[in-house]
Structures are given as structure tokens and as C-alpha cells.
Amino acid sequence: MTYAWDWLIFFKPSVTGEGLYGWMLVKGLGWTVLISLVSWLFALALGTVLGILRTVPDRWLAWPALLYVHCFRNTPLLVQLFLWFFVVPELLPLAWGNAIKQMAPTTGQFLTVVLCLSLYTAAKVAELMRAGIEALPPGQRAAGAAMGLSQIDVYRYVLLPQALRTIVPPLTSDFMNVFKNSAVALTIGLMELTGQSRQLSEFSAQSFEAFTAATLIYMVVTYGVVLVMRHVEKRARIPGMLGVAR
């Protein structure tokens, strides 16, 4: 191997005149964190509702939720992003489509990625939510009904307080996945962390340093997620139900 290592590349000015190479990574990290957190909040809200709908006895509510989960969970994220970015504006009325396309590029890209990632992740959250509810003994639902609680109250007072707690550990993985999945943004031109490390590697020809740095940054960020979720898990667990949180 004849590779010329240069770990100081991050402190050298970029050939594009946009500041230091390291600054490019910092800007990329900013986009990654912003996209991921916003998408995660939307996904959590939408996913919870969809997950609940999947477990309700009313078929007219459960079926659309099932269809949603099938569509968004069973197709590749990249394909979905391309559909949202390139195909959807063509299907809208001409004026709307043009308005979307002439939006400031970064805003348009950001909104598209957040929309895409939120809807995709919501499908996964919905499945966890359903699993959490279905994991409870069926007798609980019956017992709630026998006590005269309405369908909504059964969910509100009996099922959800337990299910939401049970699914905290598996939710951690999906929270981390949002950060990793946010890298698809580069395919429509939003230069988040992976995109910026590619830029760094193209402009400076120091590809190994660029991607090593990106790997380490992703590890630090996702470890941060682990720490936060561990805290949530500890606070939310029901004593004696899930074993000891570490």
C-alpha cells in the first residue's frame, strides 16, 4: 500500500474556500443530528398512533394501519426517498410541483428527507408498539372491559402504560437507526456527515482519514443515544417486570 496518511488534513483549508476541512465535517454532523432528531420525533408520534390502530378490534381502523406498515416497511429507504424527491413533484398539479422544485434547494432537500425518514421510521415504531401491546396477556383487555372501561380507557389506563415501557429497549435500536439512515440524504444532495466526508475525500484525496473520522463521529453520536435511552429505560421501567436495568 502506498497511501500517504495525513491526519492533520482536518485542520487544513479546503480547496473550495469554505473554511477548514474539519469544518465541513462539523457542518455535516449538524445536518445529521437535525434530520435525525426531527424525523425521530415525528416517527415516534405517528408510529405510536399507527401501532395502536393495528391492535384495535375495529377492522376499518386496523386495515389502513396494516397497509401503511406494509408499504413503508417493506420497501428500501433509498427507493422511497427517490420517489418523494423525483417522482412525487411530477404527479402533483403543475404549479405545486414547480413551487416545490423552485424552493431553496437545501430547504427542499431537508424537508424531503425529514418526510421520508419520518414515514419510514414510523412504520418500524408502529410494529414495536403493536408488539408491546400484543405482548400483554389478553386477559388484561378483557378485564378492563369487564370493569366497564371504554375501549379508549382500556388503552389509556391499562395497555399503554405497560406497553410503552416494555418497548423502550428495542426502541433504542430504531433511534440509532435513524441517525445511520439519515445518510441517505446525500443521494439527493444534502451534505450531511457521510456526504461531507465524501466531499472531503474527493477534494483532499485523503479518503481513509475522512471516513475514519466519520465512523468515529457516528459511534460517538450513537453511543450518546445509548446513554440517553438507558436513562429513560431506568426511569420508566416497572419494577419486577423487565428484570434489572443496567
Partner: protein, 297 residues
């Protein structure tokens, strides 16, 4: 007379033996393994691409094949096998630097940053960045893109130049980044950008592949030129001299013009037959008269 001939013969022998005495990591590796690893591209038209019959083709690919022929003769290995490794713009430099590839001839620009990792042969093509626009867009030259959306491929020289042009002239161009050549064109085709800035030759091949080529044109004086060259391992003067020689001979013998005509002026077997239709530029004519390995950046 015979003395003279003997001296020349001796000098030639000496010459070739000194060349042999110098070690060449690439030639040693090829000799030891019986395989030469060459980079291929899927759609770098018309330099290195898969045609309609799924055969590798292109101007740069043919140059690489000529190098393989020369290797077979030089190393006396008629059975030398080619190992084709498909690369992308992101992977091509690391795989040459880490020794996976022995030679990469496609559409790679020779510049000083890249020379820290790899070495470049003689230039085989000169390009300049221009603008691709819809004919009815009203854009005739560079200043017309002020305040508009312009797409460039991320990480290319075109991106650097566009950012610089825009800030130097206060044009406030919205730079849209595309991840590859295909997406670059899609951005103007779907109206997200009014113009695509890229190496002129890629613009011409994009037009040739468009659904309706008559809608599109290339405008603006070529900006900063770039030299396409073959990439090889660093610090291998022997192999570099060999590839340099093959390219220089091709240009001097007229073989290069034949290749140029085949790929740039005649129909090639892509999408049922397209013609790039790019006349030989003055820069190219100058290069053919004086083959060299000088980068522009």
C-alpha cells in the same frame, strides 16, 4: 559499420537491462500473480462503459487493453489474465492507492491533491466545464445563471469552480449537488435546476442519451480545463514510463485519432445507438502534437 551496429545493439541491451534492474512493484506483482487488475466503470460514456451487449468498451478502456497487450509482450506472458474491478468516482483513488488495482483508465482528472496518493500517466483527454441548458431557458452564458439553481456533481472540480465564480461575481447561485452523472442530468430534466455544470464531454454524452436531444444545448465558454489520465501506483517509474509511452505512441501514430472518431464522432452501441458528436477541441489537438502528463490544477 558493424562496430556501430554492435554499439547500438549493446546500448539497447544495456538500456533495456537497466530498465529491468529498476524494480517495478506493479510489474513484479503482475509477473508473480499472472493477473493484471484493471478498473472499469459502468457508465462513463464514451470513456469506459458497458455497451448494449454488456461488453466493456470506451476510449480509455481501449487504452488499458493496449497496456495489457504491451505487458503480455514485455513480460512474455501470453496467458496474462485481466481481473476487471468495477469502480466508482468515490472508490477509484483508494483502490489504486491500496494496491487493489494496477491500472485505472476512465475519466479521472489528474490533479496535485490526487498525486499525493496515486501517480498519473500522460494525459489522454482534455475537458473544460460548461453549462447544459434547455434551449428555451434563455440562458446563453455564465452571467445568466445568477440567482438561479445550478446542479453540479458533488466533489467535482466543477463544484469548486461554480462556487468560486458565484462568490467572485456575487451571482448568488443556488448550488445543487447531485451524487453522480445520471442524477446530474435528472435535476435539469425535472426542472429542479435551470442548468447543469459539468465537463463538456459528459454534457454532450448526456444530451446524446436524452429522450429528446433536440431540446438541449451546451453553452458558456469552457472554464478551467482538466486533464484526464490513467491512474497507477505511486513510485513506479518503470510502469509509468511504459503507459506514458503507449499513450504518446498512440498519439504520434494517428491511432488516437482513429479511436477518437470511433467514440466521439461515430455511433456507439449505447441505448440502441447514440452519437456523442463532440468535435476535436484545440486543446486536444495541442495535446496530440505534444503528449505530456501535466495537470492543470
Amino acid at each position: 559499420m558493424s562496430f556501430c551496429r554492435l554499439t547500438i545493439a549493446a546500448m539497447l541491451l544495456l538500456g533495456s537491462s537497466t530498465a529491468w534492474a529498476q524494480s517495478s512493484p506493479t510489474l513484479d506483482k503482475i509477473k508473480a500473480t499472472g493477473v493484471v487488475a484493471i478498473g472499469t466503470r459502468e457508465a462513463s460514456i464514451p470513456f469506459n462503459y458497458l455497451d448494449d451487449k454488456n461488453q466493456q468498451a470506451g476510449l480509455s478502456w481501449e487504452i488499458a487493453l493496449k497496456v495489457v497487450d504491451a505487458l503480455r509482450t514485455r513480460l512474455n506472458m501470453p496467458d496474462l489474465r485481466i481481473n476487471r474491478v468495477n469502480v466508482t468516482p468515490q472508490t477509484r483513488i483508494p483502490v489504486v492507492a491500496n494496491g487493489t488495482l494496477d491500472l485505472e483508465c476512465s475519466s479521472t482528472t489528474n490533479n496535485t491533491e490526487r498525486q499525493r496518493q496515486v501517480s498519473f500517466s500522460n494525459t489522454f483527454f482534455v475537458v473544460g466545464s460548461r453549462l447544459l441548458v434547455r434551449k428555451d431557458s434563455g440562458i446563453r452564458d455564465w452571467p445568466d445563471v445568477a440567482g438561479k439553481n445550478v446542479v453540479v456533481s458533488a466533489g467535482t472540480t466543477a463544484e469548486r469552480i461554480l462556487r468560486k465564480l458565484s462568490s467572485d461575481n456575487n451571482w448568488q447561485v443556488n448550488v445543487i449537488l447531485a451524487k453522480d452523472i445520471g442524477e446530474n442530468f435528472l435535476m435539469v430534466e425535472t426542472g429542479r435546476a435551470v442548468a447543469a455544470m459539468q465537463d463538456d464531454v459528459i454534457l454532450y454524452s448526456n444530451i446524446a442519451r436524452a429522450r429528446n436531444p433536440a431540446l438541449w444545448q451546451v453553452v458558456g465558454a469552457p472554464q478551467q480545463r482538466e486533464a484526464y489520465a490513467c491512474m497507477l501506483r505511486k513510485n513506479d517509474a518503470v510502469f509509468k514510463a511504459m503507459v506514458d509511452g503507449i499513450i504518446a505512441d498512440l498519439m504520434r501514430s494517428g491511432g488516437y485519432e482513429a479511436l477518437y472518431t470511433k467514440y466521439f464522432l461515430k455511433e456507439i452501441a449505447v441505448k440502441g445507438g447514440i452519437t456523442v458528436n463532440l468535435p476535436l477541441s484545440d486543446d486536444m489537438a495541442a495535446l496530440i502534437r505534444d503528449p505530456n502528463d501535466r495537470p492543470y490544477q
